[in-house]
């Protein structure tokens, strides 16, 4: 998630730079010098920027932008943001690397609770009122004509077979799917505990989407396609502003119940609603003592959730960034923010807003009338695909998913020792050598010993399918690229495009079309893993011994005979190197795949890093490396030539 955010922060910095120079500094300083200003407590220490936690969800980003704009324009402070996941950012505010976290759900995070208890951080005011969170379904599912779950009102009803069938999981059709938060989010553990407490753990798959972007994309697709979906969500949020959602009733909150539910080691036998959300601005305590004015501001900043939701939906509908939306909000709703700041600050802020149009273009920038954006056409195209063709794509995805389920079940049916034996035996038989067989057996054993056997089987399933697809696509494409002038011209740019285009750019639309889970994951792995095979097949054929190819022609070989008898065999080492790269690339994609809901070793890595459990991440990462080793040795043995009789090891 951290790396996903990064580009956005960069862009924001550039935009803010102009605003800082033009609007904030000059008007901010001059009036202060000209007229004796009333003595206000400083909102920021001189010469140092206030570092904000770069929250990456929609409302967090908006509120961060809002507070930054007020500080920069009203108080002439400098601000900056530091990107990160929620837990790392909370940690950063606790130790003082960041100073302000704009939207802190008080009492939800163990890290924050501990920091607050030890006086390192303070929660100020209530930046959002009327916030709520819980288990949601699309409102159209329960209300209005044609509602498919008209009676559904409470969580307990989810246990009914009709409901389970309604929310059917594509990967395990006999169970329903509950879309949880991404692992590493505070809500994820709570939801898992609730699922158990409500007796739904058996009948529903506890599905973690892997990232906030994937979660939002999946829910949005469901809402656009009018599909049933059961998911955790929260307000304030864009989705709550954009769509009508219905929150399922839960037993009322009680302190005792909550203490158990929110404790990871609790009994989780009775569930209840989450406590009424207290959303405050969190500040580093030491920093607050240096800038008491900041405290006074954060104490007062407050927005009702519906207002915030409307802003977020407006931003999404007009594809506006958080900064632009925050400025627009300040311009349009002075009645809301005038009460948050002392009168002189309000004046300065109003003047600053009146002075710029919101968009500040740098003087030396690219002429704006030459700018032609392809954003909207792409957006419209994706939206129409999702709405119009979603069914067909989903049917296709369902077939892929069924195949993965079949392979997964097959792998699970084989006892572990037999699987290791088969893999090692096959490798040893092909190579006529004990060395590679021992490597394969050892690698698989290590995975088992690390407790990753189950996750490995899931990853192995993904690997088998995606590598098989990569070979089926890659070999012919490589041959085409080597043999045809058109192929040679077309292939390199296409491969460059596939390899450089950041995966999430096509993964999020793919996810909206194919649904969260294994199908888009396989797509991502194939897209990423096929290019090296194509390149190396092409290279191998093109650089195969000219004289030998000439000989085949001279003996009257047809192009196909030349390919089969000469070119492919001669290109074999290169093709095998390509296969090796394909396997490694596919495995490298496993972590990204888990961000869109594919389970397995990648999920463990993601889970580890998102919850700051470095050991767990390392363990699963090691599992991926070791699995790569085993798969590569096996693939080389199967696709390569048979070893010489009585090969190196001499034991076979």
């Amino acid at each position: 998630m951290g790396w996903l955010r990064f580009p956005r922060v960069q862009a924001r910095r550039c935009a803010v730079l102009g605003a800082l120079l033009l609007a904030a500094l000059l008007p901010g300083l001059r009036p202060a010098l000209a007229s004796p200003a009333p003595v206000l407590p400083p909102a920021c220490p001189a010469g140092r920027p206030v570092v904000f936690a770069g929250l990456d969800w929609d409302s967090g980003a908006f509120l961060t932008a809002l507070e930054r704009a007020i500080l920069e324009r009203g108080y002439a402070c400098q601000t900056s943001v530091v990107p990160g996941t929620t837990v790392t950012l909370e940690q950063a505010v606790a130790v003082g690397d960041a100073q302000v976290i704009a939207e802190e759900w008080v009492g939800r995070s163990p890290i924050w609770n501990a920091a607050m208890a030890s006086g390192k951080v303070v929660a100020l005011g209530q930046i959002v009122t009327g916030a709520e969170e819980g288990l949601y379904v699309p409102d159209a599912l329960v209300h209005g004509p044609g509602a498919r779950a008209a009676g559904l009102a409470r969580v307990q009803q989810l246990a009914e077979p009709a409901m389970v069938a309604l929310f059917r999981d594509p990967e395990q059709p006999e169970r329903g799917r509950f879309l949880n938060c991404p692992s590493g989010w505070t809500c994820e553990r709570v939801n898992t505990a609730k699922l158990k407490a409500y007796g739904l753990a058996g009948s529903y798959v506890d599905f973690r989407p892997g990232s906030g972007a994937a979660m939002d994309a999946d829910i949005t697709a469901a809402l656009l396609q009018h599909r049933p979906a059961l998911f955790y969500y929260y307000s304030p949020s864009t989705l709550a502003g954009r769509f009508k959602l219905f929150r399922l009733g839960e037993p009322p909150y009680s302190a005792r119940c909550w203490a158990d539910i929110s404790n990871p080691d609790g009994r989780h036998d009775t569930g209840c609603a989450s406590p009424p959300a207290v959303i405050a601005s969190g500040v580093n305590a030491r920093f607050l003592s240096e800038a008491p004015g900041l405290g006074a501001l954060l104490q007062r900043v407050s927005l009702p959730a519906p207002v915030l939701n409307a802003e977020l939906a407006d931003a999404a509908a007009n594809r506006r960034g958080a900064d632009a939306q925050a400025l627009l909000f300040l311009k349009h709703h002075p009645e809301l923010w005038r009460g948050w700041v002392p009168a002189p600050v309000a004046e300065r802020l109003a003047q600053s807003l009146a002075r710029d149009g919101g968009d500040t273009a740098a003087a030396g920038g690219f002429p704006s009338r030459w700018v032609f954006s392809i954003r909207e056409p792409v957006n419209r195209w994706v939206a129409s695909l999702v709405a119009g063709w979603g069914g067909g794509f989903r049917a296709m995805a369902a077939r892929v998913t069924a195949l993965t389920a079949l392979i997964d079940a097959g792998l699970r049916w084989v006892p572990w020792w037999l699987l290791i034996g088969l893999c090692a035996g096959l490798t040893g038989w092909r190579r006529r050598s004990a060395g590679p067989a021992a490597v394969v057996a050892g690698a698989l054993l290590v995975i088992g010993v690390l407790g990753l056997w189950d996750a490995m089987l899931q990853t192995l399933t993904l690997m088998l399918i995606s590598v098989a697809l990569a070979v089926v696509i890659g070999l012919p494409c490589g041959i085409w690229a080597a043999k045809s002038r058109l192929g040679r011209a077309v292939t390199p740019p296409v491969l460059d495009f596939l390899q450089t285009m950041p995966a999430f750019v096509y993964l999020i639309p793919a996810l909206m079309l194919l649904g969260l889970g294994k199908a888009p994951a396989i797509l991502a792995m194939v897209i990423y893993a096929t290019p090296p095979l194509i390149r190396l097949t092409e290279l191998g054929i093109r650089t195969s011994d000219q004289e030998v190819r000439e000989a085949a022609t001279a003996f009257g070989a047809t192009p196909f005979q030349t390919l089969i008898h000469v070119e492919l065999p001669l290109a074999r080492p290169s093709i095998l190197a390509g296969l090796n790269q394909t396997i490694l690339m596919a495995l490298a994609m496993v972590v990204t795949a888990s961000m869109i809901g594919a389970r397995g070793l990648g999920e463990d890595v993601l889970n580890g890093i998102q919850s700051l459990d470095v050991g767990k991440g390392f363990e699963a990462g090691l599992g991926i490396v070791v699995l790569a080793l085993a798969l590569d040795r096996m693939a080389q043995a199967l696709a390569g030539e048979r070893g010489p009789r009585g090969g190196e090891g001499g034991h076979v």
Partner: protein, 271 residues
């Protein structure tokens, strides 16, 4: 019967070819034509008749066009103009399937660096031409094995080429060509990559085979000694043109040009 008549054969690469042709007709040198027209003359105005059942040696330095000429004979290179008649049939007019048939039945080639398939056994390599013809595997291997035996490679059928010496590998190359039972053998510097002793041995073997089988053989070499030893007639090439085409004795006695004289002069001390 397999007489090869080459008529007005030429091969040009790039540039303004019409102009180059006129210049070549007027006797301009390769360098002049390249400078004026940007056209690289690989072969120009070759007229010769290769007699049936003889070894014709094509000799010249690198760049003289001798390999290009040989490759034109089996159309690994398509000539720009001129005709090549094998017993009257102009192979430059063959379509793809006729050409394939011609390559499979009529002419076989032996390569300088052997051009064996490294992943196939000696037997499979020798049978390669037959495999391409669609001959059944058993029969192809029987015929290939006979030729391997004849060339002294019995017992090596299952070995991979990489385990053989250079001389043995070229014998496999020769067996591969002979297994197809072609009328014409085209040999491109076939013995140049071998050390002198082995080379002499193979030259003797080739002469023996030729006496026995009476094949038409076109042998390309840059080595005058080899040419004099093997050739019934020798064609000396220079800058894509034929300098002289004559029997060895005639070549030594009456070199047509100073270039040929210089060339054959090298051979004197050894004789």
């Amino acid at each position: 019967m397999s007489e090869i008549r080459i008529e007005g054969l030429g091969k040009l690469y790039g540039g303004r070819q019409g102009e180059a042709l006129t210049m070549a007709g007027a006797g301009a040198s390769k360098g002049e034509i390249l400078a004026r027209t940007g056209c690289n003359v690989a072969l120009c105005g070759i007229d010769m008749t290769l007699a049936d059942g003889e070894i014709t040696v094509i000799m010249g330095l690198s760049g003289s066009g001798k390999s290009t000429l040989l490759r034109c004979l089996i159309r690994l290179i398509d000539p720009s103009f001129g005709a090549i008649r094998f017993d009257g049939a102009d192979i430059t007019r063959f379509n793809l399937s006729e050409l394939r048939e011609f390559r499979r039945r009529t002419a076989s080639m032996v390569f300088q660096n052997f051009a064996l398939l490294p992943h196939k056994t000696v037997l499979a390599n020798a049978a390669f031409g037959l495999t391409l013809q669609g001959v059944r595997r058993r029969e192809a291997e029987d015929r290939a094995a006979q030729w391997l035996g004849k060339l002294g490679l019995a017992g090596y059928e299952r070995a991979l080429p990489a385990t053989l010496s250079g001389g043995m590998r070229q014998r496999v190359g020769l067996a591969r060509a002979l297994a197809c039972d072609p009328d014409v053998l085209l040999m491109d510097e076939a013995f140049s990559a071998l050390d002198p002793l082995i080379r002499a041995e193979l030259q003797d073997q080739l002469l023996g085979l030729q006496r026995e089988l009476g094949k038409t053989i076109v042998f390309v070499t840059h080595d005058i000694q080899e040419a004099l030893k093997l050739g019934s007639r020798i064609a000396v090439m220079r800058e894509g043109r034929l300098e002289q085409f004559a029997a060895p004795a005639e070549l030594l006695a009456n070199p047509a040009t100073p270039y040929v004289a210089r060339f054959v002069g090298q051979a004197e001390p050894a004789r």
